[in-house]
Amino acid sequence: MILAVLFANVEGNILIERVELEHCCRFSGVPAEERLHWRSFLVKLGADNLKGVRNEELLVASHKSVYIVYTVLGDVSIFIVGKDEYDELALAEVIFAITSALKDVCGKPPTERLFLDKYGKICLCLDEIVWKGLLENTDKERVRRLTRLKPPTEF
């Protein structure tokens, strides 16, 4: 299960936080303070490790039996949290799909402003890539077409 997808800016402010388990609203039903703990854990993880990291270089960590794969793209850092079958390798696949779609939407590694300008589009891409904790689409071409309600080219 993919537990959460989180986008933050360079200062660690949350841009998008999508939590994928619906019955248990947000971070798999954990209470608010635990969720905050998670958020600040991720943001701190980014602050500690993402300095000087190249765009799309993947970093990995584990915390309390879940895996976290994270990276930076332009001014935006991206974190994905998963557990069980979504281990570090599967999450790497997911984050790759997300970064490619993000670059596709923004045309380049986004500044924060660009990211916010394309906010709606980015939400749609995420909706196509991860759906309720499962990976649905990986190909950026396909994601782009789907967000415009166009059928994929290959079939």
Binding site: A8, N9, E11, G12, N13, I14, L15, I16, E17, R18, E22, R39, S40, V43, K44, A47, N49, L58, L59, V60, A61, S62, H63, S65, Y67, V69, K83, D84, E85, E88, L89, A90, A92, E93, T111, E112, R113, L116, D117, Y119, G120, C123, L124, D127, W131, K132, L134, L135, E136, N137, T138, R142, L146, T147, R148, L149, K150, P151, P152, F155
Partner: protein, 885 residues
């Protein structure tokens, strides 16, 4: 530190870089949402408003019920627009708003229309939205369309339906299970992702049907799998089939498939296959080698994700097959300096597991540098690994203990300090040579310890171990200092510890009395009370006499009453002339902590989770048994086995049994749980048939009076056996009880019940049950000092075996003894091996065993068994165990 919760709207005043959401406010956006109701819709404007709503939701703003309903109703109006971009946004916002059940009806018809639309993309999205917001009743209406969608030629539509199926399976399994024919067809799809999603759904539909899963795996391993993701799933299901097939002999089914996946072009698949191989039960070194080789290559990958995955997998392997991982040690050592701390920690803990005695010192040097720049949670993992390393190589206790005491002095949080203190305590208990230095380290620690809990724990421990050392007086200063410098809780604990020294060491008594008398004037009443009490019980009124046995029991004995029972009795006690009588508190343990149920079908979850340590339940068992009058004359409990499951996981009644061995008796403790909420069981007992255990005679049994739902209860059956003989045998068990229906609404049981029985699995008492695993710190010394008076040597042919390692572990298990100095691990490809075992046999007789193995080309294994023990008969008994099996 950044502030994660600060909203984007209250920073940045730079004109050029301002956020499009600057100053966004919920009320205003809700106002703007009225454009959804315009007769002439402006798709662009509407999309912008939806984006703002999404932004608010993503930032954690929540809408009240009224607000959400209002927005939702307006959004539904947008279905009138034919604009594609807007329609896509509408689908998303409906999902995000997750309307309540009574509102869903408003969009259902629009979505149903889209679901049958000619536009494929409408269909796919409508399916996803409907499945997200639907309930069971609506699902039956749309089931027909969903089944069609699964086999739709457009892969997006098919995937949407399949992924919806995976989610719906949680809430409406009976409906989704009806789709298995369509899903089966989708598994053959040429579209990679459709196959992936179909495979996941099909396996979940059929997960309880072993045969079907096995067939699925067989056909797919021969056919084509189109994406690495699906290939990973297939590997996972394959290992499940292997686990469940339980074939002990011959080639393992599907091993070749797993092995071939190690050469797949996708890294994900290679890792999945390598992990599957390392997790095979009873994996041989021949099977392991190819997997370890590919993992080793990844250790030096430039991608952190791959390094992490590799070291994580090897870390797990090191738990069970340390020797198999030693080849990777050099690569792993270079990972200690990895920038990624998770990788470095995993590398260190793996090295600690696989290293040999000679590499310990070098390793400790590297770790010392590393410890200063990692977080507490990683440090705890390292401390635990060092603890087990020290138990494995007791001769190295000096450098390891020094390391622990050094890190104890450094900064750190409670959990970390607790892990260190726990480790030192365990080392003191298990390695006698380490006791004095360990106690002094602890003493120094409490001089400057900010955690009351740890101080009191250490003081308690000092009270028990300190008086037994050669020079108990040197600890007194540390303890008495606490009386001056600490809070009341710690002061009270120090008083108790002083009293224990006084009771045990007569020479110290007069000085202890002086100290205790000073405590009578403490500002805290608990401290004063304790000081007074101990002065009285120890006879501190001037005379120095030898401490009574009763007093010692009072000071050192465990409180043999369960605290829960004491609490209940105290609550029930009404103040009166009659004092509270502690003897009136029942001693029977009502419920025991549940042993973790084994679930053979499940993969062990969690990363780097430390293996469950041996439970310290022996004391608890002893107390439990001695509180039962029927067993009171059985003498001292020699050994209690770990629980053996007598039922499959997830059956109506879960029963496991613990074998308690006494000199002339064996007691079976059946731990039962009733997992059916609608039932109350009464008079629960186990009927044991001992016809295949001739030496045993049943003497008594003790049923459980009542076993309500989910409350553990214990029933006992006791057998007599001839003294000094390692009687073995097989027992068949039948659970017998009276079952009463329980009304779920009131929770009350019916008056009348029906007698019923439930067959349990058989249970065996084997020779190893009479042996306690007790290690020695230096086998050679122990062997020499035991002398050869009672040495018994003989040679045995063990016949053809799978491997040398397998033969070694079989003999270790047969004898149930503790392997010493890491000799249980056999080097790959070696032709001979020596294994050293130590244990205590029934009657508290120390036994040491030296096993020498040799293997021939034909896989025939020969073994030379040398036993030394304090009792001649025990040496013979060991040989008898080996020769009889």
């Amino acid at each position: 530190m950044a502030q994660p919760l600060v909203k984007k709207d209250d920073d940045r005043d730079d004109e050029a870089e301002y956020s499009p959401f600057l100053g966004i406010e919920k009320g205003a956006v809700l106002q703007e949402a009225r454009v959804f109701n315009d007769p002439q819709l402006d798709p662009r404007r509407c999309s912008q408003v939806i984006t703002k709503l999404l932004y608010l939701l993503n930032q954690g703003d929540s809408f009240t019920k009224v607000e959400a309903t209002e927005v939702f109703f307006s959004v539904t109006k947008l279905f009138q627009s034919k604009d594609l971009g807007l329609r896509r946004m509408v689908y998303l916002i409906i999902k995000e708003l997750s309307p309540s059940a009574d509102e869903v009806i408003i969009v259902t018809s629009s979505l149903m229309k889209d679901m049958n639309s000619k536009t494929d993309m409408y269909r796919a999205n409508a399916i996803r939205v409907l499945c997200r917001i639907t309930d069971g009743t609506l699902l039956t209406q749309i089931e027909r369309y969903l089944k069609q969608a699964i086999v739709d030629k457009n892969p997006v539509v098919a995937s949407a339906a399949l992924v919806s199926g995976i989610h719906l399976l949680q809430t409406n399994p009976e409906i989704v299970k009806r789709w298995s024919n369509e899903v089966q067809e989708a598994v053959q799809s040429r579209a990679a992702l459709v196959q992936f999603h179909a495979l996941a759904l099909l396996q979940q539909i059929r997960q309880n049907d072993r045969l079907a899963v096995s067939k699925l795996v067989t056909s797919l391993t021969r056919g084509t799998v189109r994406s690495p993701l699906a290939q990973c799933l297939l590997i996972r299901y394959t290992s499940q089939v292997i686990r469940e097939s339980n074939t002990q002999t011959g080639d393992r089914p599907f091993y070749d498939f797993l092995e071939s996946c190690l050469r797949h072009k996708a890294e994900m698949v290679i890792f999945e296959a390598a992990r599957a191989i390392t997790e095979l039960s009873g994996v041989t070194s021949r099977e392991l080698t190819p997997a370890i080789t590919v993992l080793q290559l990844f250790l030096s990958s430039s991608k952190p994700v791959l390094r992490f995955a590799a070291v994580r997998t090897l870390n797990k392997v090191a738990l069970t097959h340390p020797m198999a991982v030693t080849n990777c040690n050099i690569d792993m050592e270079s990972l200690i300096s990895d920038q990624n701390r998770s990788i470095a920690t995993l590398a260190i803990t793996t090295l600690l597991k696989t290293g040999n005695e000679s590499s310990v010192d070098r390793l400790m040097k590297q770790i010392t540098n590393f410890m200063s720049d990692i977080a507490d949670e990683f440090k705890i993992v390292v401390v635990e690994a060092i603890r087990s390393l020290c138990l494995k190589f007791p001769l190295k206790y000096r450098s390891l203990m020094n390391f622990l005491s050094n890190i104890l002095r450094e900064e750190g949080g409670f959990e970390y300090k607790k892990a260190i203190v726990d480790s030192i305590v365990i080392l003191i208990r298990d390695i006698p040579e380490a006791k004095e230095s360990g106690l002094l380290h602890l003493c120094e620690f409490i001089e400057d310890c900010e955690f009351t809990y740890l101080s009191t724990q250490i003081l308690h421990f000092l009270g028990i171990e300190g008086p037994k050392t050669t020079d108990p007086s040197k600890y007194i200063r540390y303890i008495y200092n606490r009386v001056h410098l600490e809070n009341a809780t710690v002061r009270a604990a120090s008083v108790s510890t002083l009293a224990k020294f006084g009771a045990m060491v007569d020479a110290l008594k007069p000085r202890i009395f002086v100290l205790l008398r000073r405590c009578i004037f403490d500002s805290d009443d608990e401290v004063r009370d304790r000081a007074t009490l101990y002065l009285n019980t120890l006879g501190g009124d001037g005379e120095v006499v030898e401490t009574d046995k009763d007093v010692k029991i009072f000071l050192f004995g465990d409180l043999d009453i369960p605290l829960v029972n004491l609490e209940t009795s105290l609550k029930n006690y009404e103040p009166s002339e009659e004092p509270f009588d502690i003897d009136s508190v029942p001693k029977e343990v009502k419920s025991q902590p549940l042993v973790e149920k084994k679930a053979p079908g499940k993969k062990p979850a969690g990363l780097g989770a430390p293996p469950a340590g041996p439970p310290s339940t022996v004391d608890a068992y002893e107390r439990l048994l001695s509180s039962i009058p029927e067993f009171s004359n059985f003498g001292k409990l020699f050994k209690s086995s770990s629980p053996v499951e007598l039922t499959e996981a997830e059956t109506e009644y879960a029963v496991n049994v613990v074998k308690h061995i006494f000199d002339r008796h064996v007691v079976f403790q059946y731990n039962c749980i009733n997992t059916i909420p609608e039932q109350l069981l009464e008079n629960v007992s186990v009927i044991v048939d001992a016809s295949e255990a001739e030496d045993f005679t049943e003497v008594t049994s003790k049923p459980v009076r009542s076993l309500p739902y989910d409350t553990p209860g214990q029933t006992f059956v006791a057998f007599e056996k001839p003294d000094g003989i390692t009687a073995v045998g097989k027992f068949s068990n039948m659970l017998r009880f009276i079952v009463k229906e329980v009304d779920p609404s009131t929770g009350e049981a019916e008056e009348d019940g029906v007698e019923d029985e439930y067959q349990l699995e058989d249970l065996e008492v084997v020779a190893a049950d009479y042996m306690m695993k007790v290690g020695v710190s230096n086998f050679r010394n122990a062997w020499e000092s035991m002398g050869e008076d009672f040495e018994r040597v003989d040679e045995y042919g063990l016949g053809p075996r799978e491997s040398l390692a397998e033969a070694v572990s079989a003999v270790i298990n047969l004898l149930g003894m503790q392997p010493c100095e890491g000799t249980e691990a056999v080097a790959t490809n070696s032709r001979s091996h020596t294994c050293l075992l130590s244990g205590v046999f029934l009657g508290n007789v120390r036994v040491l065993v030296r096993l020498q193995f040799g293997i021939e080309g034909s896989r025939d294994v020969a073994m030379k068994l040398a036993v030394r023990s304090e009792d001649e008969a025990v040496g013979d008994a060991i040989h008898e165990i080996v020769s009889c099996s």
